[in-house]
Symmetry: C2
Subunit: 421 residues, 2 copies
Amino acid sequence: MPEVFDLKKAGENAKSASYVLQSLSREKKDAALTAVADALVANADRIIETNGRDLEAAKAAGTSPAMLDRLMLDKQRIEAMALSIRQVCGLEDPIGEVLEKIERPNGLRIEKVRVPMGVIGIIYESRPNVTSDAFSLCFKTGNAVILRGGSDAIGSNTVLVDIIREALEKVDITPDAVQLVTDTSREVAKEMMRLSGLIDLLIPRGGAGLIRSVVENSTIPVIETGTGNCHIYVDEDADIDMAVNIIFNAKTQRMGVCNAAESLLIHEKIAADAIPAICKSLKAKDIEIRADKKAFTLVPGSASDMKTATCEDFATEFLGPVISLAIVSDVDEAIAHVNRYTTHHSDAIITCNPENAEKFLNGVDSACVYVNASTRFTDGFEFGFGAEIGISTQKLHARGPMGLRELTSYKYKVYGSGQTR
Amino acid sequence: MPEVFDLKKAGENAKSASYVLQSLSREKKDAALTAVADALVANADRIIETNGRDLEAAKAAGTSPAMLDRLMLDKQRIEAMALSIRQVCGLEDPIGEVLEKIERPNGLRIEKVRVPMGVIGIIYESRPNVTSDAFSLCFKTGNAVILRGGSDAIGSNTVLVDIIREALEKVDITPDAVQLVTDTSREVAKEMMRLSGLIDLLIPRGGAGLIRSVVENSTIPVIETGTGNCHIYVDEDADIDMAVNIIFNAKTQRMGVCNAAESLLIHEKIAADAIPAICKSLKAKDIEIRADKKAFTLVPGSASDMKTATCEDFATEFLGPVISLAIVSDVDEAIAHVNRYTTHHSDAIITCNPENAEKFLNGVDSACVYVNASTRFTDGFEFGFGAEIGISTQKLHARGPMGLRELTSYKYKVYGSGQTR
């Protein structure tokens, strides 16, 4: 590891590599990915040993058991990482796809062709499997990638990237297809966010604080990912059993994820029936419900089941055993509430009324809007993309689950025979 | 005009308006655009009078004749603005288009549907016709727009936006579909660049300095537009007459525009024949050629026709009667040179060799890459889009000429029947 990490040099190396990677055939890329998957499994002991040192350091620093678990790699998890890479081999290569052909009256023939982004920077926290996942998705789409993981996983990430680079070299592919920023200081991260001209796209993956910092500081195009204050609106015409099921699933199936439900909106006419059933179901998982005043009025005796919500609760992504609840008087009020508080990730309506469903689907300004299904389906695999690099909550370029295609751009190839204007 | 411009309020108004605009039918939008076009023509005198005051102030401030001409509005130009709007009426409405349908094994039905961006901010310089153009394109695509023009055109822009808003109100459409930032201070411009959550996309239109400032300061997704250091590479196997014609057109047809050629690359084997012909042709328009040393060696006697280039010349978008020239030894060196100096706008190869053409088209990392045609064709109208809001030089979201579709995003509408994970 060099004493001073030369980020500009890394950017230049990545840019050079990207010009080679963009024209690799699918066969060559898949063969290289297979070699990388094999190498990870073959080097499992080496990975586990280094990961053990990261774990010890993290334990000594008082890291929580949940975070330690996220950091930990064992044989099974390494095999899962390799399997993920092998699955990426099985996916279509989107590069080179002709998206559109235009013939102009002057004889110009224009082809809009899918090309790689070039160099993608990924800034992420904790989980070392992001290292191999991000590499495989960027590589499959002909992009070079610069990875900047968290300091707690620096040893694990370094050995993973070393193994990937060694495997690439063995199959005659430039190892600069992937580089790790080994200096995990904030200064270098900020420098990375301003490497315009060398990095074409920056994707932050992690908590709200990390994402905000990247959005604030980057001069490179960014895709915001992953904060999800997801709503479920139970309409006047909802099937209450279905609502209870979906809410239970969306809130409790996995609480720390971005597509988990964080806020309930209940139509005032159904509140007296729906709220007790919802309370009973969520109580089984010790979920605290924070409700507005109207809920207590509409459901006498609910004071023992719910706490009083503050305004802030409605804007909070709890990522834990808490959910907010507000009463609304119609679907329009529900839509207005969602658009005020949503992070534009995933929101759902439960209703048997197709008109209200369509109103909600069209009116709510989020990446994924559901009728009668759990918000937990917002996921590249659940959508059938076969992969996922993150979930975009912005509207530029990609929205919702991002698979391979979302890591690409396009160019216009124009064929002439001497045309001038 | 209020004493202190309340930008946050403008953003909130735009956001509210965007929720109404997103569901307007094409018929309603086209009727409103027609009303706006009619109103501009009907109010021509009022516009010309205010524009006259802008012109007087600009003259007093010592503004150049070229800039005064850009600022000036007369009856003919106002009619041209109205005609542009009428042409936008004739274009297909992209909103609501179903881009993809996915059926999942669990019965979920997913529709990827084209939707507006929401609120678009446009920061631009000088030409008041951008005011009506930007409004019409944003409006047609169901977006609200916040315009921030230059201080020299503030009177003209204010009256134009007033007329548009009056016309919208008359046809019962929220006038907040368009708002003008009437405080043209830099502070308010910077505030606008940080209005995350209210503005969804920022498009700067103007010189390199303006664009850099937006990219540096914005926390909102930006599309970089319009700087063009465009190259023309004359290959070993080029038709010299065609090369001369294309170079003459690309350099001289309009010199101040982003798709004009700024740099020539000549294969060493064709230099002795090509360079004298190019010099002769460009001399007719008094174009200064700044060449590298090799050019002088390969073409004896050319010292009277060319000046010596500095390294900086190859990185310069002259936007005037100057062009740089470098000798390369093959198409690979040409591609490497372009990728080093290009602003990723438009670059061309002149060749009869299809293999070299394809190599150049694939290897050059620019929005539009041409074989045997002028770079001047990079334009929304020339591409057949029927409109243009700018030319993107970044890879995220949109690349090259941006028409109506490039002002849209998408959402996923997911139809379930009680599915949980």
